[in-house]
Amino acid sequence: MSVCYGRFLNNSFYRFGKLQNGNDTMIILEIMAFVVTALEKVFLGGLIIAILLIVAFCSSYFQNRNIFKRNYLSKTFVPNPSVEKNLTGIGRTKNNFLIYSSGLGWVLIIILTVSAVVPWGNSIHLFGQTVDLQMASVNVDVLFIIGLLSTGILGIMTKGIDKRSPYLWTKVIRSASLVVCYELSVGFSIAALLMVSGTMSMKGIVDFQKDADWNFIYQPFGFILFLAGCIVILSYSTGVLQNNQEQHQHEDAAKPERRETGLSLFVRQLVVTILSVLTVSFYFGGYDIPFASDVKLRNSIGSNSTAIIEGTVLLAKTIAIIFLFSLAGKRVRNIKYLQLMNFGWKVLLPLNVLNMVVTGIILLIQ
């Protein structure tokens, strides 16, 4: 009977140490174990989301100092008189507020959901039980992440629809097609990475890199391609195609750099945060502590203290990558759209395929 609940419940049965034949008390224990495990997951999920939000808030603060001001985040939803007066066209004939706001909401939801499969540290021991710091391990973690993140394109496409949107529909569609192109490149560079690690589980990928044996050493070129794709995706992730439209160059020159504001800025920084966490997990060892052996550390100071250090190390690495992304993003926004499109299709994609083939040949020769 207990087999049917899969690994999720079996873990909790082992906790109670009563995985025997099914009887009446077994059913009560099953329900208890289910409730306890679910509560643990809820607590862990809340903690992960809280950490993500704090990091995203701090990084938005460095982008725009007004983020903590009252009403700042709701700016995104307030109708803009000058926009409504000037704009007519596709999607602007009526008030499509639900579609407009649901795009941002969807991006928020998928980002927070993806954080469930990221390992945030090794297991800890609380109240005599072992708690994994990875909420869910779904056997195809990487596919799950790619599949979920690629629906984020909806968040871009719905941004140009409402009357109050400051973005043009055509701009939004074009940035969506650009993001699609770069997502493809990132997918190929992840494929080359999976060749090296040989597993799709995030925990497996991170465990493979322990003791400073990071994937970055085996995939330096793949990492650069991955980074290039990610930077472009991040610059366009919430539907911003600002300075680089050829038909608007006359006014772009006059105005200073325009920035995202309100909730879009915050959501974009959240996307930056989760992509940094993924970059660290893929290429920089995840929660692996540099210059120290995790196993030895766990034996000497205990697993709980080690898990806290591991989480801190992961956060520190993430913040370093966030700085890298925000520094590069400013430069990317000044490149013209067509240049980026040509670069993505004609340079980045063939290079990624080549990188994958060469990686395969090297691995097979060894």
Binding site: C4, Y5, G6, R7, F8, A38, K41, G45, G46, I49, N66, N71, L73, S74, K75, T76, F77, V78, P81, L87, G89, G105, L108, I109, I110, L112, T113, S115, A116, M135, A136, V138, P166, Y167, L168, W169, T170, I173, R174, S177, C181, L184, G187, F188, A191, L194, G198, M200, Q247, H248, H250, R259, L263, M341, K346, V353, M356, V357, G360, L364
Partner: protein, 133 residues
């Protein structure tokens, strides 16, 4: 033939996704609460929008705020994406089993890459990315 739910669950790892569903619910509740919180002042207050006002003015050359663009190009771009997206999805199972399959698995994949490279080169040569027309 009747297949019970328990039989399906026995041979799958559906319950592994339970924490993901829990996280999805937490994320959904958080998002809805955040949106309700932000929309309190939605109709009441007037907020200074000077920062949000992004480049929405008429183009002096064409006299329009929004330019007409070719829908064909979008369809072409999307079909290119469909072609390579499916190609990418095919690689993932192979990539995981690279070492087990060895050279016997490698050459068919090279043939596959050559075939879709021909399609790629044809698409690029036929001006699929030429947006200015």
């Amino acid at each position: 033939m009747y297949v019970s739910l328990i039989t399906i669950l026995q041979f799958s790892n559906t319950m592994d996704y339970m924490p993901v569903v829990i996280q999805l619910i937490i994320a959904f509740v958080f998002t809805v609460l955040l949106f309700f919180f932000l929309l309190r002042y939605h109709k009441k207050t007037v907020i200074d929008n000077s920062e949000t006002d992004l480049s929405i003015t008429e183009n002096p050359v064409s006299g329009k705020a929004e330019e007409n663009i070719s829908a064909n190009k979008f369809f072409m771009s999307i079909s290119l994406f469909v072609l390579f997206g499916s190609a990418m999805a095919v690689f993932y199972p192979y990539v995981i089993n690279l070492r087990e399959l060895g050279w016997n698995g490698f050459w068919p994949v090279i043939v596959y890459i050559v075939v879709f490279s021909i399609g790629y080169i044809y698409a690029i040569k036929s001006g699929i990315l030429n947006w200015k027309e």
